[in-house]
Each structure stands twice: as C-alpha cells, then as structure tokens.
C-alpha cells in the first residue's frame, strides 16, 4: 500500500431541503414537531439544507439562531443554507454554516432525478438486454492459433481454450473447461467485465486492458476454478 492518507472524490449525498416560507418560533416548532412525529426514526440525525429562496418577500429579518436550535432539538442536522436573497447573507455568515452557491445547490438537489442520469440508466438497461442476445456460444475446443471474438456481448465456451489460442469479448468470458490460452474480457473498455473459468492455466488474462500473466496467476488459483475482475483499476483473482 502507498502512504496516501486520503483521496478526494466527487459524490452525491441525498439530503432534505427545508424550504422556509416564513418564520415564527412557535409555529415553526409546532409544525416541525408534527412533521417529525410522523416518522421519528426517518428524520433522526438527518442532514438538512435550509433554503431561504422561497421566503416571503416582505420578510426582511429571520432569527436564524432560533431556527437552527429548533432543528437540532428535533435531531435534524442543519448542514448548509441555500439562499439567493442578498438581505440574509450576513446573517447566514454569522451562523458559521456554509452557503451553497446556486450551481452547487442545484446539483445537490437535482442530481438524483436529473433527466440526464435517468436517461443514461435507461440506455444501460437497453445495452444489457442486447448483450444477452449477442452472446456467443462455442462448444468445441478453441485450438492454438485460433481467435474468437464475441462482439458486443459475452463469450461462452463449453470446452477448453488451448495454449496459443485467444478468446476476446466486449463483455464477460465464461469458460467451462481449462483455460490455457489468452482471455481478454471487456476489450472495448468495459471495466465491469469478468473472466470465469473452471480450470485456470492461462497465459494471459485481461479486463479492459489491465492484464496479468501466468506467473502472477500461478501463485493464486492455478488449475482451480477462478474468476478475474477489475476493482479500482486492479485485477482481482479469486477462486470460484
């Protein structure tokens, strides 16, 4: 392992947005209590972003300390403010909590349901379906000098793959026999592709361009049923 202490990563966290329309301590406390009592466990220690965007235009001042204290009483964890009205900025600053910029807040609130994301989820679903149709089945031994490529899908081999033979697939490779040759899964960059075989004696295994030679395999799963997959850019070899 390296000496690295941490890694910074982009991430999407689901939070509640508390959209404030007006504020009076008694009403707020009462209504919040009512809301929380509907599902106390659900709201317990929930991070919450308080939005002042939809506040009544006639209100010029809010006691933010009271607001925050009340929220904390009910076990909510205010983590930031969201506000586009200049008149509240100083007060927000005084609370010490973050003010989310307009763009960031938009991302934060909308990301889980943006049409872009959902459409890409649909399209991956479609891809998976077509992969099923496109998988290639080979029932005879793949001999030295032969090369078999399953374009756009999985490759299933019901026999052995000899030394000097090469089997490739855009998806996974399943070998129900001895693998002595080369197996390259996810050749077009599919990092979730895997190689499975019932007896591992491969010359070379590759997933999305990350490869491993027989020397490394010998120490782990040699002549055993095994699977190889990519985890955080590192090839993992495991017995099956």
């Amino acid at each position: 392992m390296s000496d690295t202490c941490f890694q910074l990563k982009g991430s999407v966290v689901t939070t509640f947005i508390l959209e404030l329309y007006q504020f009076s301590l008694d009403d707020f406390t009462l209504q919040l209590k009512e809301k929380i009592n509907q599902a106390p466990m659900f709201f317990k220690q929930s991070p919450v972003v308080i939005s002042l965007d939809k506040i009544d235009d006639n209100i010029t001042e809010i006691n933010l300390d009271e607001l925050l204290t009340t929220c904390r009483q009910f076990n909510l964890q205010p983590m930031a403010f969201k506000c586009s009205h200049k008149r509240f900025l100083d007060a927000i600053k005084a609370t010490g909590l973050t003010l989310l910029s307009k763009n960031a807040s938009r991302n934060l609130t909308k990301t889980p349901v943006t049409p872009e994301i959902s459409s890409s989820i649909e399209s991956t679903d479609v891809k998976e379906n077509t992969q099923l149709h496109k998988s290639k089945l080979i029932s005879r031994p793949v001999r030295s000098g032969q090369q078999i490529y399953a374009e756009g899908g999985d490759l299933i081999i019901l026999s052995q793959v000899s030394e000097g033979a090469e089997v490739l697939a855009d998806g996974n490779i399943h070998i129900y026999g001895t693998l002595r040759g080369r197996a390259l899964a996810g050749v077009k960059g599919n990092t979730s592709a895997r190689v499975f075989c019932t007896k591992m004696e491969a010359e070379l295994i590759s997933v999305a361009g990350h490869f491993m030679l027989s020397d490394s395999l010998r120490e782990k799963v040699w002549k055993q049923p095994a699977q190889i997959y990519l985890d955080e850019q590192i090839l993992q070899v495991e017995p099956v």
Partner: protein, 270 residues
C-alpha cells in the same frame, strides 16, 4: 463409399509417413482395399518407406495434369494385393495442387478403394491444407514433447475450420490421437510428457501409442513398413491402432516401463 483419412501433425519429423505406411498396410492386411497418397509434393518420401521408389513412373501431379491416368500412376504393393501407393512428384512443388484436381482424383479413387490415406506434408500451409481438406477422419501424429503437442493443437484447429466438413457445416472431421516415439522410462524420469498429459492438452480420443523403437528406423531404411515386422513392439502397437480405427476395443500396451528379467539384466540387453 471410401473413407478418407488424413495423417497429419503440423510438426515435421514426428512420424507421419511411417504412420501412413503402417496404418495403410495394416488396413490392407485386414482385407480392406487401401491406397496411400503422398501429398508431400517436392519431398517424395512415402515410396522410400514403402520400398517402391524404383517403380515410380508417373506421380500424383501427372494425374492432376492429365499427363497420365490413375492406373498408370498407382503402384501396387508387392507384399499385399489390397495395398496401393500414389507417389508424390519430386520435381514440382505444392502449387501444383489444386482443390478441384485433388477432388477429381479422390472421387475416382473412392470408386474402387475402401480407405484412402492422405500422407500430409509438415506445416500448416497449402500442402497440409490440401491433404486434410476432403478428410472424413484425421490421425494426428504427436510426439510426447511440448512443441509437437502445440503444433498438433494448431492443426486440430485447422481441421475444424478449414476442412470441407467444417466449411459445409457437416459432421466434423473425426479426430484420433496417435502418440509416437513413446518411451515409458523417459516419462518416468520426467523427460517426456505422459500419455495422460498429452490427452489432457489435446482432448481428443487416443488411437494408439507407438513405443520408441529401433525397429522403426530399420524398417524405414529397408523400405518395409514396421507393421510387417512381427517381432517389433512398434509393429504390434500399429496393429492395435488399426484395430481401434476399425472400431475394436483394445487395451493399450507399451505404456509402462518393462521390467527386465534376471537374465536380461545379467546380459545387459536393452
């Protein structure tokens, strides 16, 4: 309908011609009318092994080019009336062969013969592909060492992709493994691959195991196929292989180290 059997290996010098001669003779000895064709155009060898080199007048290529008819080119074996040889041309090369020409000759031979043995040249190029193209069965000759095994694997791949049966999607060519130059002592010492090793790598049924024997070299030089040698282990092993080719179930011999008797040990005989 004649059965076309190709004897092939990929690698050279493993015993293809010796095997063609022995298996062909064995089939003839059992009463099947058999012809052995030498596909090694340019490196004529089969006639030497069969001891008929002085009787070659016309050859395979002459027949292909209509310079002679089949009966003129076929040489009848002196030892067995069921056995014929179609020699290769010494002066031409593999380009003289065409698929159409080969097919014409094979179909003519199929009218009168029960078995047509095609003795393939080494390699995986045109000559070898011509020899295996029309085959119904293939005898893959392999020595118990890694390079020979890998080349056999390669030729098995070609059999299953570039033969007529593969191209037309017919029932695939029936494959047989024939292990030659097998020396059980060296296997025990770890110098040679064992029968099980080779079978596991190639994954095709075993037709026979021919022990390494001085009788094979002697037979080649005398021009008498080793199967005619009643005293040689190799001859017996080829007889067994022929029987298995014809569907008989025979136990494998010569796989274990032979225990020397006291007298042999004292005399130091091999």
């Amino acid at each position: 309908m004649a059965e076309i059997i190709v004897v092939t290996s990929g690698k050279g010098g493993v015993g293809k011609t010796t095997t063609s001669a022995a298996i062909g003779s064995g089939l003839a000895l059992r009463g099947h009318k058999t012809v052995i064709i030498d596909f090694d155009v340019g490196l004529r060898n089969l006639d030497l092994i069969m001891g008929c080199e002085r009787r070659v007048v016309y050859d395979f290529v002459n027949v292909l080019n209509n310079e002679a008819n089949l009966n003129q080119a076929l040489i009848k074996d002196k030892r067995n009336e069921n056995l014929f040889i179609l020699p290769a041309s010494q002066t031409r090369d593999k380009d003289a062969l065409t698929l159409d020409g080969v097919q014409t000759i094979l179909s003519q031979l199929a009218e009168t013969f029960d078995y047509i043995i095609c003795d393939s040249p080494a390699g995986i190029e045109k000559g070898a592909q011509m020899a295996l193209y029309y085959a119904d069965q293939a005898i893959v000759v392999t020595n118990p060492e890694v390079s020979s095994v890998r080349d056999s694997d390669r030729i098995l791949g070609i059999l299953q992709s570039k033969s007529l049966r593969a191209e037309t999607g017919d029932e695939p060519v029936k494959e047989h493994l024939l292990l030659t130059r097998y020396n059980p002592t060296r296997v025990t010492d770890g110098e040679m691959l064992s029968v099980t090793d080779v079978e596991e790598i190639l994954a095709i049924p075993l037709l026979g195991v021919i022990p390494e024997s001085e009788a094979v070299l002697k037979a080649s030089n005398q021009g008498i196929p080793v199967i005619f040698d009643e005293t040689a282990d190799a001859g017996h092993a080829y007889h067994d292989a022929v029987a298995r080719l014809l569907g008989e179930k025979i136990e494998f011999r010569f796989l274990e180290v032979e225990k020397k008797g006291l007298l042999k040990r004292l005399l130091g005989a091999k």
